[in-house]
Amino acid sequence: MSLTVLYFAWVKEKVGCGQETLAPPADVATVAGLMDWLSTLSPGHAAAFADRRLIKSAVDQEHVDHGTALGKAREVAFFPPVTGG
């Protein structure tokens, strides 16, 4: 399974890139599980996801909770709480 993972704002700065295409293992089933796995990829990823309470997520461009199942998701994004407007 090929998944596009996007990062924004300081999450992007900590990870060190804004977008990557990844193939998570089959046992990565939820957004929280994906964060666990991403944290193993590099020190930057680990730093970005060190405190999950600061991270919001979207699956296929809809806001979701961390417990949400990935299902057939094609795009997952991680970012701090929004500050537009």
Partner: protein, 152 residues
């Protein structure tokens, strides 16, 4: 009529409002809100510039969903949302929201709702360049509280 735009280019808020009014000549009330880049932070530093990062695709989608939600809550004749991204400077408009309805109460409520929800749901992030350096703006607890008012 709903007109939703996510753009890098500056816009002329007054000219946009004039154009919007022309689309809703039968509406008794039109409420608008313009958000501008401030040249100071609450903590006192001078703000030189602001960069608005956004999630392309989702930003547009989120604003359209907000407009649909507003139109389901209030009898609107039209809604306009323009939100910028990229580098902005103090005094420039970041966002414009305009709503038209037969009655002013509906126009005001929808306009304030759109701003409150936009502040907590639309994927934009502000980074400020200030006299004390560059930093991401923190989300405001006040904004969260204002958005909560509209929960069903």
């Amino acid at each position: 009529m709903q007109d939703i735009r996510v753009q890098r280019e500056p816009f002329d808020a007054g000219a946009e409002i004039t154009a919007f009014l022309a689309t809703v000549p039968r509406s008794g009330g039109v409420a608008t809100f313009i958000g501008q880049v401030r040249d100071f932070r609450e903590s006192g530093e001078t703000v030189h510039a602001m960069t608005l990062e956004h999630y392309p695709g989702m930003a547009d989608r989120a604003l359209k969903a907000l407009a649909v939600d507003a139109a389901q809550r209030w009898p609107l004749d039209g809604a306009l949302i323009i939100h910028r991204y990229g580098e902005l400077h103090p005094g420039e408009a970041i966002v414009l929201v305009a709503t038209a309805a037969a009655h002013r109460g509906d126009a005001f409520a929808a306009c304030e709702f759109l701003m409150d929800w936009l502040k907590t749901k639309a994927p934009f992030w502000k980074k400020e360049a200030t006299s004390a350096g560059t930093s991401w703006v923190s989300a405001s607890a006040g904004d969260d509280a204002r958005a909560e008012r509209w929960k069903d």
